[in-house]
Structure formats: structure tokens, C-alpha cells
């Protein structure tokens, strides 16, 4: 059994315990042990980076130090956390000068970044530690007939040089994982473009425009739902649709699912255990199709 | 022909050279069969005045180890020169000043301060340092004057042969003794070590001779077969006389240069920096050298071109 330190970040515990729930269930069921670390903080994502790049590196490195001390690799459910921590981890591993600079900051809290651990997105854990084949064998409720639009968002893939999750131009990981559950992964236009999530709060208009395009393209391609791998994208597309309804006076009804929720369903979970009622756009259409 | 008369003397040195003489093992029997040892303070009870009493040139060969650190060393060097037909500078200290030659980075006062006052183990509440004469009960005591600059034997008197090394390699001592006993000696002024460098005897493989980073020995994972230079470690082998059979590199320690510079070189440290400058891929690497003098001149500072640090 492989053990990981689970890095929750901010959005998930604050807004999406249902995501955490499904991810914990699925991973545990597939033989991954998750350890919760004390004293973690925000991963220092783009909003913090915008204020001070050095601070964001130091904060990310601090959190990695906690994992180093625990002797565990980190797994994240959030692409934002994945990106912040991976970028810091790989930048510092590759740049002695920068590492020393950040370690001078960390010495204030008695930590030293060593670069001895890796940071993974839970999709990587599913592919690398569980394996597609084993995943398929565990599927007790095939999702065949479901047309799912895989949505990668940005920070799971880019900057690719520092993340290495998948090919940033032709990613397959989420598509493969969707198809492993028996569903069909549908192609749609501008699949790899941003959900606009990071503009929320600064320019809701632009953020919604970007999210809207995703919803339209996916429905045009005949998708039953959009599958995300990041709580930020999830909010942008799910909550986003409610806001779109009032802003554009149009009807949007595209269910948004975390991949882990889809996975739990395929592994045979009762939707009630997953607290899916928290979704702003109801996912009953999807449930009807797969149950 | 009668038995040869041989003398050994020990000036400023650690005593290792004396041990090396004993390390020739059973060869010593052959030596004493063919030669009488007439003067050897470490092993025999003979006073200076006995040496002074000897006729000039009455000693056939004198092996002189140690550097010239003080007045007494110099007096004895001159005395033994006068009494000996052949004077051999024996060991790094006599030949190149040796490790103690690094004291030429300081002067008498700073050496005294460090040695007699500052070292953590020193208890010297009255701050006594050596004086050349001291009044004591019963008269005046004289101590030899400690020089500001340590000299090699050749900087003091004319030397006939050099047998460097810290201590000199045993096979070379044996060869030298055989040459002396047989009278089959090279031209005066020669070294009794081979003219090649340690590299010539070293089994390690040389590769591209490019140094992009200088490391100290503990910073590398030695593969036990690649030349230290090609692993980024400064090894004095290229600028050091052969004769030791590269015993340090063979024991996975880079050469530190105890056999002294090659026959056509006066400055061992400068010689190795030439090679280093050629091998560096980036001039900035130069800054990674920790203790350059200690690295390049571990045994030969006193014999180098500039000989010592300037004292203003």
C-alpha cells in the first residue's frame, strides 16, 4: 500500500468537502493511504505569487518541507496546489542559488528545503500507483453510454517544464481515466483553454465569458457532463453556470463532476454517500444515465 | 677501500625521515656491513663538538633531513657541509622546506604568538616567548635564534644530491644507498628520484582533462579508476616527481606533492596552476579552490620563486 501526504489546500476544505469525500473514498478503496499533515498552510498560488514571487516560493517550499520531514510524497486534489508546489519543488531542485535564497527564509522557521520529495496530482497516483488496468478491474458499475467532456484546466498541465503531468498540447491522462470507467471522452473545441477561474473576483465578466465558452463547446459536442480535476475549475464551471443564467439570460444545464465523483460512481458508490446535492447544477441527468 | 663513513642529521623536521631510514628493513644490515654510521643524533650519543673535531671531508655521505628554521639548523648545515664529501638533502623539508615551510606565510612574531600564546591548549600566563638569551640562576642560557623565514638546505649550503618525499620513498632510499655504496652516482645537483611525474606511475585513467567544477575529495564519489583531475579534484601528481609509485592515488587519495617539483621546474605551485588553468572550462571555477597555497605548495613554499609571504 502506497502512502501519501494529502495536501488539501484552501478551496477544498472551505467550499468542496464533497470533492474531498469522493477522492478519499476512491483512493482508499484503490489501496492508497492518505496521511493528513499538521501545520500546513495555503500553497501560495497565483494570487500570492502576484503579490510576491519570493513569498510564494518560500511558502510552497515550507509545505514541502513538512512532507519531507514526514518522509512522504505529496498528493494534491487541486491543480492550483499541484502547480504551486510542483513549480516550487522543481524550480528549487534545479537552481542551487534560488534554493539557498529560499532556505535563508525558511531558516526563520527552522526548516530547510532538501528537494527529496515529489509532488503528485491524484490523477498521477491513479495512473502510476493504481494503474489503468487495475482501475478497470475495480469498476463495478460501468459508465458506458456516458459522454463526458474532459476538462484539464491550466495548472495541471502548464508550465509543463516544471510539472510534467502530461503533454500540455495533447494530454491524455484524464481522457484515459474517463474511458477506463467505460464512459466516452468527447472531443470539443478549445478543450485546453482556461476556465477563467483566476479572473473571478477581479473581472467576473471576463471569467464568465471564458467559462461560458467551455459550457457551450462541450454541449455542442454532445457531452452529458464536464469532468474536472480541480476545485477552482469546478467552481468556475458549476457555480459559474448559475451566474451565467442571470447574466446572459440563457439556460445552462451542464452537470460538472469531479473526476473522483465519477470514479466513485464507477466503483459502485451510492450517490448519497457522495453529498452530490452540493452541486449547483444538478447532476441527476448523469445519475439517471449511469445508475 | 675501507668502510664508508655515513652521517644522518635531523634539522627542522618531524622525524618521519629518520623512521624512513629504518623502514629500509634488512637493507640496513647491508649498509652497516659496508658503512660506519659516524653521526646520528637520534640513535647515537655524539656531541656537536665531536663532529667539529672530525677532519674536514672525513664523512663520506651525510643525509640531512629537515629545513633550516633557526640558527642551530644553519650552523649544523654548514658544519656538516664542511665535514662531508657528499651532502644529500633528505626529505621534503630539506629539499623544498616541507609542510613547515608553510610557516613562511607568517613571520617569527606571528608564529610565536600563535604557538606560545594563542593556541587553545596553551597555558602561558606570563606570555613567555623564546629569546636568544635568558638569564637564569647559574648564568645565561642561549637559545638558537628562530628565523623569520624558513630556508631549504640548498638555500643555506651547497647540496650535492636531493632525495625528496615526505618521507622519501623507501625504494628510492635503497636505490640511493646502493648507488652511493657502489659509487655509481649521477652528476652533482641531481635528484635521486626519477625524472618523471607521479602520473607516469599512476594507474588511474586520464580522460578529457576538463574541469568544470573543483571539488574536494570528500565531495566526490570516487570510482577508484578515473584520474582525480577528471573527477574535478586537484591532484598534485602532474607537477610532482615520481618515485613513490603513486602510492597515494593508489590508496584513493590525491597526490599532495611531497616529492617536490619536476627536474626542470623551480616552482611546483605555479607549475600545477598552469595545468589547472588549461583544464578549466569556466574561469569562475578558480574561486572554488579552497586554500590555494596549502593546496599547490603544501611542501614547496620555501623553495618557490617568491619563497615567502611579504611582510610589510
Amino acid at each position: 500500500m502506497k502512502r501519501y501526504a494529502l495536501f488539501l489546500g484552501c478551496t477544498i476544505p472551505a467550499r468542496q468537502p464533497n470533492y474531498e469525500l469522493s477522492a478519499r473514498k476512491a483512493l482508499t478503496k484503490l489501496g492508497i493511504e492518505l496521511v493528513d499533515l499538521a501545520e500546513t498552510t495555503c500553497c501560495a498560488p497565483p494570487p500570492v505569487r502576484s503579490i510576491d514571487l519570493e513569498t510564494s516560493l518560500a511558502v510552497a517550499a515550507y509545505n514541502i518541507c513538512l512532507a519531507e520531514e514526514a518522509g512522504l510524497d505529496l498528493v494534491t486534489l487541486c491543480s492550483g496546489c499541484f502547480e504551486s508546489l510542483s513549480v516550487a519543488n522543481n524550480m528549487l531542485k534545479g537552481d542551487e542559488h534560488l534554493k539557498n535564497r529560499i532556505n535563508r527564509v525558511l531558516s526563520e522557521v527552522g526548516k530547510e528545503f532538501l528537494g527529496s520529495r515529489s509532488v503528485k496530482h491524484y490523477l498521477q497516483v491513479l495512473v502510476e500507483d493504481v494503474g489503468i488496468e487495475r482501475l478497470k478491474r475495480n469498476v463495478s458499475r460501468s459508465l458506458s453510454g456516458l459522454r463526458a467532456a474532459a476538462f484539464y484546466g491550466c495548472h495541471a498541465l502548464r508550465p509543463s517544464g516544471l510539472l510534467g503531468l502530461d503533454d500540455p498540447e495533447r494530454p491524455r491522462i484524464l481522457d484515459d481515466l474517463i474511458e477506463a470507467l467505460g464512459a466516452e471522452s468527447v472531443e470539443y473545441r478549445n478543450k485546453l483553454k482556461c476556465c477563467g477561474g483566476l479572473l473571478r473576483g477581479y473581472s467576473d465578466e471576463l471569467a464568465l465569458d471564458l467559462a461560458r465558452e467551455k459550457i457551450i463547446n462541450a454541449s455542442r459536442a454532445g457531452a452529458d457532463c464536464i469532468v474536472t480535476l480541480c476545485p477552482f475549475c469546478f467552481v468556475a464551471l458549476d457555480m459559474g453556470q448559475l451566474q451565467m443564467r442571470s447574466r446572459y439570460k440563457e439556460t445552462y444545464d451542464m452537470p460538472i463532476l469531479h473526476y473522483s465523483e465519477l470514479l466513485c460512481l464507477a466503483l459502485g458508490a451510492d450517490p448519497k454517500e457522495l453529498a452530490v446535492q452540493t452541486h449547483k447544477v444538478k447532476i441527476d441527468k448523469v445519475l439517471d444515465k449511469v445508475l | 677501500m675501507g668502510k664508508l663513513k655515513i652521517a644522518f642529521y635531523w634539522a627542522a623536521s618531524c622525524g618521519g625521515c629518520e623512521i624512513a631510514v629504518l623502514d629500509i628493513n634488512e637493507k640496513i644490515l647491508e649498509v652497516v656491513e659496508k658503512a660506519d654510521i659516524v653521526f646520528w643524533p637520534v640513535a647515537m650519543d655524539i656531541k656537536y663538538k665531536d663532529v667539529e673535531a672530525m677532519p674536514d671531508k672525513s664523512i663520506d655521505v651525510c643525509f640531512f633531513n629537515g629545513a633550516i628554521r633557526n640558527e642551530e639548523n644553519e650552523r649544523m648545515a654548514k658544519l656538516l657541509r664542511r665535514k662531508s664529501k657528499i651532502l644529500v638533502a633528505f626529505g621534503s623539508c630539506a629539499c623544498e622546506g616541507g609542510v613547515i615551510g608553510l610557516a613562511n606565510l607568517w613571520d617569527r612574531n606571528s608564529v610565536f604568538e600563535r604557538v606560545y600564546l594563542e593556541t587553545p591548549s596553551t597555558r602561558n600566563p606570563e606570555s613567555v616567548t623564546p629569546e636568544t638569551s635568558v638569564e637564569v640562576a647559574g648564568g645565561e642560557l642561549e637559545l638558537p635564534k628562530f628565523y623569520n623565514t624558513l630556508k631549504t638546505l640548498a638555500q643555506t649550503v651547497e647540496v650535492d644530491y636531493f632525495l625528496s618525499g615526505c618521507p622519501p620513498p623507501i625504494p628510492c632510499i635503497i636505490q640511493a644507498l646502493e648507488a652511493i655504496l657502489s659509487g655509481n652516482l649521477p652528476p652533482k645537483g641531481s635528484s635521486l628520484l626519477p625524472n618523471k611525474s607521479v602520473c607516469d606511475e599512476c594507474p588511474r585513467e586520464k580522460k578529457d582533462r576538463k574541469v568544470s567544477e573543483i571539488k574536494r575529495i570528500y565531495e566526490i564519489e570516487d570510482d577508484f579508476k578515473t584520474c582525480f583531475w577528471d573527477q574535478g579534484v586537484v591532484c598534485m601528481g602532474p607537477a610532482t616527481r615520481a618515485g613513490c609509485d603513486a602510492q597515494c592515488p593508489k590508496a584513493n587519495i590525491p597526490c599532495t606533492g611531497c616529492n617536490g617539483p619536476g627536474p626542470r621546474v623551480t616552482d611546483q605551485g605555479a607549475a600545477i596552476t598552469n595545468a589547472l588553468a588549461s583544464a578549466l572550462t569556466d574561469p569562475q571555477v578558480i574561486k572554488q579552490i579552497v586554500d590555494p597555497v596549502g593546496t599547490f605548495y603544501k611542501y614547496s613554499l620555501a623553495a618557490s620563486i617568491l619563497r615567502r609571504k611579504l611582510v610589510k
Binding site: E169, R170 | C199, D267, A270, T273, R307
Partner: protein, 805 residues
């Protein structure tokens, strides 16, 4: 031991020098130097009556060493050396000093000091000349033959030039047919003629004028006397020395005997195997036995080993009327002896698949320009039609994307230099033949820098080619219409465009030939960071390499259009001819030599030698020692400056000679702090000369010593100079990337840095040592640095090296 008799000949430059220098004092001083037997004074010594005096003294045996003080050093040196040689004295027993530019003029404000410096200069010259030994010249034979690697435009042109000059030439091409990348390109700019059109052989003068051009297969290239063409062949090994290379060529089997084939092509008709035709971008198929296009040389089919079923089928053997097909042919090794080699391996198109956003690898309608060129070619797979590969329907909208993999720091940072012209040429050809086709070129910058090139840009605009200033971010297929869309910002409009396209043509970068690295390795040539062959000197020796007798030309050096390739090829041919012409290399032996008994096998010198002139050999008693090639050594002394045992020396710059010179220069005192300036004989000393010529003043206490290259300098020399009384030392060499011996000045710089570290430890101010990198025109920089050095030393106060014991 020879009795050394030095004659010193002092030119007063037509009476100019005595206005500054006290000639009587100088003459008196020189007379007193031991070994000097004759001192003469005249207005000039490098020609006329003056040189006769030197000749006379040598001929009559009065002197056997000559020191001349003359103010035209280089010219004078050559004349004097020649004259002395004629008089029967070895020309390397002469030393020339320049008292005008090196002393009187730059110190004319301090005549007394200048006089003292003149004494020092003459003393150093006399002491040096006393230690000089005669140096001989050696001749090495040069075979009258050459190998040209690569049968593209450049290789063919160079091979024909050399063959027609009378040398025996082998032209080898790794493909089965001549022509190279150019042959695939259709037509050429700016001549608008066929790609396969080259110069015609001058041996053909009976029927056509020698100025005419012809297709490769009509050019008579195969009939040029002395020229032997080997196709389907590659170099596998090169041994030997310049002038006498032994080359092993592997000739792969063609399975069709060139001497028997009559070119009827019955075999091709009969062959049942069809495979995609790579040469034609896979747009059509070809047989297992094939020729690329009808007009190739040799006009003999070749069998594709990977596709042919050989004896299982053998239909071609059955139909061949001349019994030319031999399915059992084997690869053979051919050994060639040549004096010179020209590398003309060309370049190839970059595979743009790695730029995934352009989808070259998975959208069939995204192609490259070479593929488009095949479509435009009437002999090509579409007979000149511009079709979409996906469905073979005519393309109506074409978008070309420039700088694909060029000017891209992720792949090739350089500008491939010909892609703009290729795109313009193709756009024009398409528009002229099919005005209805919409052609858009997306560009970052349009570069049309050659003569007559801009007119292509104009013509394209006239014809209605559209230009969009912007590099597209991606090519994608609209999921609904399945058409290609090029997503680009037009920076001039400040607007985003989604350009629909039937065909997207990528102006893919041009990169080094696949075997460039292998050939470089075989020949010991250097490649640039870009992977192309590196020229000896981009400005002055653009077709030469560091390996004597080996030349480079055409696209092997950098992507080139046809005119430039031709030009380059002719240059390489003339350089090769010049090398071959005498039948021998005469080389004086002012070279390095290893005292083998002292060589410690540390193996630094073979690596550092910029000319690969040093190798390791095993001696009789089992030691490995370095040995210098008398042919390859250029006498720079970089090895000398490296050797930690002083086991290697230049014959005319021995350690004793250098030390003697250092001490002599510093033995005549000056009122200001003495400085030794060690200058290389190239840019370093040229800058000193030029400062003198311009009468720029610097203190006469700066004493100049000339060495071949600063690479010869050792750290010991600095220390010896200080010990001999120098208060400061300057090293004056070429700019580090302009060193005439490649690495010398760079290494000298590092030695200075290292020595500064040592000096600091010795308690000597590191500022007493300085490296100055100059070029000839920077005499003012030298004078300024010399003045500053002396000022600095005056402030520091004197250097007292050994205090009393």
C-alpha cells in the same frame, strides 16, 4: 660549442631616432655586452646599402648571430631573414627589435628614460639571440587528389572546379542520386531556373560555350576527366595526415550495375512492389526499383533494400535486356588516397512534428515547403497541381507559417535565412499558375536580404499574396467543419484572425545534415553550437577548417540559397587547389618538441593543443609520452604554457631563452616602477606597435617582451619577473574569442586570474598583474593601461620580496 659572435645593426631611421635616443650611449652600451663583436649604425638596415652590410658581415664570417634594430619590423624581419639565409646563415638566428615604435616614439617625452629602455631592449635581444639555435624546414608530400563529400549543388560545383584544374577528384553522395536538397526544391531564386541546373563542364566546349548552364544529367559532370562519382556511398574512416589522407568509403549496393544499365526502365515497369515515395513527400507511390524523377544522375535505377523481395520475385532480372541487375551485390569498402577533402554535406529540413500545436504529425494537410515544392514541380507527384493530401482535392486556401522551428529558442535559435525567400517563391509560383488560390503568409519579419530578393516580395504583393504579421499560436481542425484553422494575431491590425486553410505550409527550419556529427568526428572537425560545421574564421577563412587540407562549403556550414552555395563551393575549391598545388607542404620547425625523458604522461597537452598536433606514444621502456607532429604543430606554445614539468618547449622559445629575456629587460633600471609587458606576437604586439606609431606616450619603464601567443606564458614567468625586479606585469593578448591560436589568450586569462589568487596569498597586491585583451587598433588602450599600471604601482610603493632572514 660554437663560438657565438653577435652583430648588432642599429638603424637610426634616417637620423630621426637620435633626436630622442642617445645613440652614442646606446652603441657604447651594446659594445660592452659580452658576445657582441660588431656594432654598426646606418639610416636603415632592411634594404639597400644597409642590408648589404649585414650580408657582408655574415658572409665574411664576422658574425653568426644578428640583431637588427629596425622600425619596419614585419617587413624588415622577412627581408633580413631572407638575406641572411642567402648569405648562408640560418634565418632563425636573427632578432629584430623596433626602437622607433617600441621605444623612441612612445617615450619621446622622456628621452633619457627611453635611452635606458633601448639598452634593455638591445640587451634582451642580444642575450636571446645568443641562445638561439638553427631551425630547419621540413617538406611533407601532398597527393594531387581530393575527395568531395556530398553531391548537392555545392559538392558538385567544387568537384567540377577541382577536376577541371587537373586534380583527381572523388565525389561521393550518400543518396543513390546526385542533387541534394536543392534537387527537391523545384526552381531557384533569384534565377528562376531549375534546381538541378548547374555549371556545365568546360570540357564540353566543342558543342557549347563554357558559360552555359545545364541540368545535372546533361552537364557532363560524369564525363569530366579526373572526376569519379560514387553514389550510395559514405565515408566511414579517414586516416593519415594533411596532404596524404587515406579514406575508406562504404559503397552500398545499388543492385543495378551502372556500367551495364541502358536506362530503359523496364525493371521499374515490371516491379510489382509499391511503396510510398518519400522523396515526393509520400504523395505518390514508387516501385521497389526506382529513380526519383526522370532527370537525375546517374540515370540508373536503384533497388530499395527495405521494399524489394529480391530472389523471391526477381521480375526485374527477367525483364532487364542488358543483364544489369545483380540482386547479390554486396556493400564494398573502397579505399581512396587523397591530399585534400571538401565537406559539402548540406542541410536538411527540420521535422516540425515536435511543435505539436501545428499538428504536422497528425493533420495530413499540414505540410512543409519541401513537400509543397514537390507538388509545384511538374515532375512531382501531383504533376504541378496543388492538392490537399487528405482528399486529393485542389487546395483553394493556403496559409504559410514562417519561422517554424527557426528563431525558436526551444529548437533552433538561429534564422534559417532562406525560408522567407522560399515561401515568397512558392507563393508566387502558385499565384501565377492558379490566381484563384488564396495564399496568406504569416510572418514575424520578412527577410529578403540578397540581391534581387526584394523583388520577390514585391511580386508576391502584386499577385495578391496576403501577409499577416504574427506567428500563429496553433493550427486546429474545426470539430464541425473539419477544416484547418490557423489561429493568429495580426499585430498590425491588432486583431485576432482565424484563417481557414485547405493547406497549411510550414516554413520549417533548416538544420544540419543527419550525418554532420559523424563526419565531423571522422575528420576531427568542429561543429558550432547550431550543429553546422564551423569555419576556421568566419570573416577571412570561411571555407577552411582547423584541420589542414580539409575544407567546408555550402549548406554544411549554414543554410544557404543556391547562389551562395555556389560561391562558397568555388571558394572551397580554390582553397583546396591552393593547398594541393605545390605537391608539398614546406614547414619550418619553429615547433614544440617534447623532452621525452622528462614527460610525465599527465596528458594535458594532447587535450589542450588547438591543432590536435600532440599524441601519446609508448616508448621503448614502457612509458607513455607526448609527441608533437612536426606537420600539425603551429608553434603557439599553448602546450608549453600547460606542461607542469616543462618537458615540452618551443624550439625557439625555450624556457632559458624566455627567462634570460625577462631578466635582461628588467636589468636596466628606470626611474619609474618597472613593468614587464608580455605580448603575443599577434594582436597584443600589434597594439603595442600601433600605440608607438601614433606616438601615444606611456612610461619607458614598461618593458615589452614578445611571445608567439600568450598561451605559452606560465605562472612562473610572472613570479620570475617580480623576482627580477618588475613591480608589475602585464599580459597583452588577443581578445579571447579572437586568439590567433584559438585558446591561448583565454588560457592566459585564466592563468592571470589564478596567479592573482596566489599573489594575494604571497602578500603581493594582485593589481600588480593584469591581462589586457586588445586588437591592433587598440594601441590607445594599451598605452592607457600601461600608464595606469605605472601610476598604480607608484601609489602602491615598491615590492620588497625577500626580507632578510
Amino acid at each position: 660549442m660554437e663560438n657565438v659572435k653577435v652583430g648588432v645593426f642599429l638603424s637610426d631611421c634616417g637620423g630621426q631616432l637620435p633626436k630622442i635616443l642617445d645613440f652614442d650611449a646606446i652603441m657604447g652600451y651594446v659594445k660592452g655586452i659580452p658576445g657582441v663583436v660588431l656594432v654598426e649604425r646606418s639610416s636603415e638596415f632592411w634594404r639597400g646599402e644597409g642590408i648589404k652590410k649585414i650580408l657582408d658581415a655574415v658572409k665574411r664570417g664576422k658574425v653568426n648571430r644578428v640583431v637588427v634594430a629596425e622600425s619596419v619590423p614585419k617587413l624588415g624581419e622577412i627581408n633580413i631573414a631572407q638575406a641572411v639565409e642567402e648569405a648562408g646563415l640560418n634565418p632563425y638566428l636573427v632578432e629584430v627589435v623596433d626602437l622607433k615604435n617600441g621605444c623612441a616614439w612612445p617615450h619621446r617625452e622622456t628621452p633619457r628614460e627611453a635611452t635606458e629602455k633601448a639598452k634593455a631592449m638591445l640587451l634582451a635581444a642580444v642575450e636571446r639571440v645568443k641562445l638561439l639555435e638553427p631551425i630547419e624546414k621540413i617538406e611533407f608530400p601532398v597527393l594531387q587528389s581530393a575527395l568531395v563529400i556530398g553531391g548537392g549543388i555545392a559538392g558538385m560545383q567544387a568537384a567540377m572546379d577541382l577536376a577541371e584544374l587537373g586534380f583527381e577528384v572523388y565525389l561521393i553522395e550518400k543518396e543513390p542520386f546526385l542533387g541534394g536538397i536543392a534537387a527537391r526544391a523545384g526552381t531557384f531564386f533569384p534565377t528562376d531556373d531549375c534546381a538541378i541546373c548547374i555549371q556545365s563542364s568546360t570540357s564540353d566546349v566543342k558543342t557549347v560555350t563554357p558559360t552555359s548552364r545545364k541540368c545535372v544529367y546533361r552537364s557532363g559532370i560524369s564525363e569530366v576527366p579526373n572526376l569519379k562519382i560514387l553514389t550510395n556511398a559514405k565515408v566511414v574512416k579517414v586516416e593519415g595526415v594533411p596532404g596524404n589522407y587515406r579514406v575508406t568509403v562504404e559503397k552500398r549496393p545499388r543492385y543495378v550495375d551502372e556500367s551495364k544499365c541502358v536506362g530503359c526502365n523496364l525493371c521499374i515497369e515490371a516491379c510489382p512492389v509499391e511503396v510510398p515515395d518519400d522523396y515526393n513527400a509520400g504523395l505518390k507511390t514508387r516501385k521497389a526499383v526506382y529513380i526519383n524523377v526522370p532527370n537525375v544522375y546517374p540515370p540508373v535505377p536503384v533497388i530499395d533494400e527495405d521494399a524489394c523481395k529480391f530472389h523471391e520475385c526477381a521480375r526485374c532480372v527477367e525483364v532487364c535486356p542488358s543483364d544489369a541487375i545483380n540482386l547479390d551485390q554486396k556493400a564494398e569498402l573502397v579505399s581512396l588516397n587523397v591530399g585534400s577533402i571538401i565537406v559539402a554535406v548540406g542541410f536538411r529540413e527540420f521535422n516540425p512534428s515536435v511543435i505539436k500545436e501545428y499538428h504536422y504529425d497528425d493533420y495530413p494537410d499540414v505540410i512543409t515547403h519541401l513537400e509543397l515544392a514537390r507538388m509545384i514541380d511538374g515532375f512531382g507527384p501531383t504533376g504541378g497541381m496543388i492538392l490537399r493530401p487528405s482528399d486529393r482535392k485542389p487546395a483553394k486556401k493556403i496559409v504559410m507559417i514562417q519561422c517554424v522551428g527557426s528563431r525558436d529558442r526551444r529548437y533552433n535559435p538561429y534564422c534559417s535565412s532562406i525560408c522567407c525567400m522560399i515561401s515568397l517563391k512558392h507563393a508566387i509560383l502558385i499565384k501565377e499558375a492558379h490566381p484563384e488560390i488564396d495564399v496568406t503568409i504569416c510572418y514575424i519579419d520578412i527577410r529578403t536580404t540578397g540581391r534581387e530578393h526584394e523583388k520577390y516580395y514585391e511580386r508576391a504583393r502584386e499577385l495578391g499574396v496576403k501577409f499577416v504579421k504574427g506567428r500563429p499560436t496553433e493550427v486546429f481542425m474545426d470539430p464541425e467543419t473539419k477544416r484547418l484553422i490557423v489561429d493568429v494575431e495580426d499585430a498590425l491590425l491588432n486583431r485576432f484572425l482565424e484563417l481557414e486553410a485547405d493547406l497549411v505550409v510550414l516554413a520549417s527550419a533548416f538544420v544540419p545534415a543527419e550525418d554532420a556529427g559523424e563526419i565531423a568526428e571522422i575528420l576531427g572537425l568542429e561543429l558550432g553550437e547550431d550543429g553546422f560545421f564551423k569555419e576556421y574564421n568566419a570573416k577571412l577563412r570561411p571555407t577552411e577548417t582547423k584541420v589542414k587540407g580539409v575544407f567546408i562549403c555550402g549548406g554544411a556550414v549554414f543554410p544557404k540559397d543556391a547562389p551562395t552555395s555556389s560561391l562558397h563551393a568555388h571558394s572551397a575549391a580554390i582553397k583546396a587547389a591552393k593547398f594541393l598545388l605545390n605537391g608539398k607542404i614546406v614547414k619550418d620547425q619553429r615547433t614544440a618538441v617534447v623532452k621525452e625523458e622528462y614527460c610525465g604522461d599527465c596528458e594535458f597537452c594532447p587535450v589542450i593543443c588547438p591543432y590536435n598536433a600532440i599524441s601519446l606514444v609508448q616508448t621503448g621502456n614502457g612509458h607513455f609520452v607526448a609527441r608533437v607532429s612536426e606537420l600539425l604543430c603551429e608553434g603557439c606554445g599553448v602546450c608549453v604554457g600547460t606542461c607542469p614539468l616543462n618537458a615540452i618547449e618551443l624550439k625557439n622559445w625555450r624556457q632559458d631563452q624566455m627567462l634570460t629575456q625577462i631578466r635582461a629587460l628588467l636589468s636596466v633600471k628606470a626611474s619609474k616602477p618597472l613593468v614587464l609587458a608580455i605580448c603575443c606576437s599577434e594582436c597584443g604586439h600589434a597594439a603595442v606597435d600601433s600605440s608607438g606609431m601614433a606616438m601615444l606616450q606611456y612610461p619607458a619603464s614598461v618593458r615589452v617582451m614578445k611571445v608567439p601567443c600568450t598561451g605559452i606564458i606560465q605562472v612562473q614567468h610572472f613570479l620570475e619577473a617580480f623576482k627580477a625586479g618588475a613591480q608589475g606585469v602585464m599580459v597583452v593578448g588577443c581578445k579571447s574569442d579572437g586568439c590567433h591560436y584559438e585558446v591561448g589568450s583565454q588560457i592566459a586569462g585564466r592563468k592571470v586570474e589564478l596567479a592573482k589568487i596566489l599573489l594575494k596569498e604571497y602578500g603581493v597586491e594582485p593589481e600588480r598583474l593584469e591581462m589586457l585583451n586588445v586588437v591592433y587598433i587598440e594601441g590607445a588602450r594599451f598605452a592607457e593601461a600601461a600608464r595606469r599600471m605605472v601610476e598604480r604601482l607608484e601609489k602602491m610603493g615598491p615590492l620588497r620580496l625577500i626580507e632578510s632572514v
